[in-house]
Symmetry: C2
Subunit: 169 residues, 2 copies
Amino acid sequence: MALILPANKILHETLERVAREIPGLDKQSIRTHISIAKFSSDCTGSYEAHFARFGLSQGRFAVLMVLINAGGPMTPANLADAVSVKRATMTGLVDVLKKGGWVETRRNPDDGRSLVIQLTSKGIARIKDLMPDHLDRMSRSLASLTDQEQQDFITLMHKISARVATLSQ
Amino acid sequence: MALILPANKILHETLERVAREIPGLDKQSIRTHISIAKFSSDCTGSYEAHFARFGLSQGRFAVLMVLINAGGPMTPANLADAVSVKRATMTGLVDVLKKGGWVETRRNPDDGRSLVIQLTSKGIARIKDLMPDHLDRMSRSLASLTDQEQQDFITLMHKISARVATLSQ
DNA sequence: TGCCATTGGTTAGGCTCCTTACTATTTCAA
DNA sequence: TTGAAATAGTAAGGAGCCTAACCAATGGCA
């Protein structure tokens, strides 16, 4: 449940202090990053806790969404690409979903190397069951922001993500 | 490196479609949440990748910051509270930091149950060494936002975090 | 003073995701 | 046609964090 960020107050003060010794440094950015780290951790924790109630994780939920969207069977390789995880990880995700009765697999008749994965009717029923609650939580968690504020928020996140991406090459 | 969010586009469309069947539902919030999940994942990945270059992780880095801030030795229990991890987790964090030569431990003379943990001089030197780069990255990753935008961004994150906290009780 | 609840730290095992290294199958090109 | 390269999936092991169950030391209270 990853409480990645810490000691908000203390870290904040410390970083500010260290920063003071480095001339020309941008203190606002430190404050912002501390908030980002805490925010990430809060949101991730909340997603995970929520999904855990259905025996799901973010990764497994994403697989289900992709399958629903596809409207038919998919191979593990396609799923892995769609969900942005490695194939080895997908093996694990599918395995758990299978044990939970969400999906079923069979060999791909067109390619002896691969499988196809498909939602079970039970899986579809359960997804329909949990979606309203899920969507409602999403909505309520943002209820204190106007649509415009959300739009601005998204814009800012995109800006930062793009920048972060270039920093890590 | 947790690529928690997936299939941005696909998920987006799917959720929108599912949402369409649920009357009175707030679609903007879905868009926002998808962006948040991706953003969290991007930032977390970036932090981790950055720290990995020094043999650190977010958790271990946080421990170092707290120790610097304290200016003296601390017990594992205090560190755990300060960093918001469980004590069992702190055992592991300290263990790795010790092996890496960042900190040293000894028994607490005032309480036979506990230890005290302290930065080594080598640890302090290395921190001083890496901080400018670290802070510089923070700064550059936000360079496309004005101070005011960052301030607004923080405000919005706080608003959402507070709400999310109440949703998970 | 002696007992027991509390607190400190560790161990063991779980979960999610990752990387690396492997086998099986298919494809392409010499 | 056949042998090398690419691709599908899996297994093993690692990192980070968690919970639960444990001893060891402490300290309040009868």
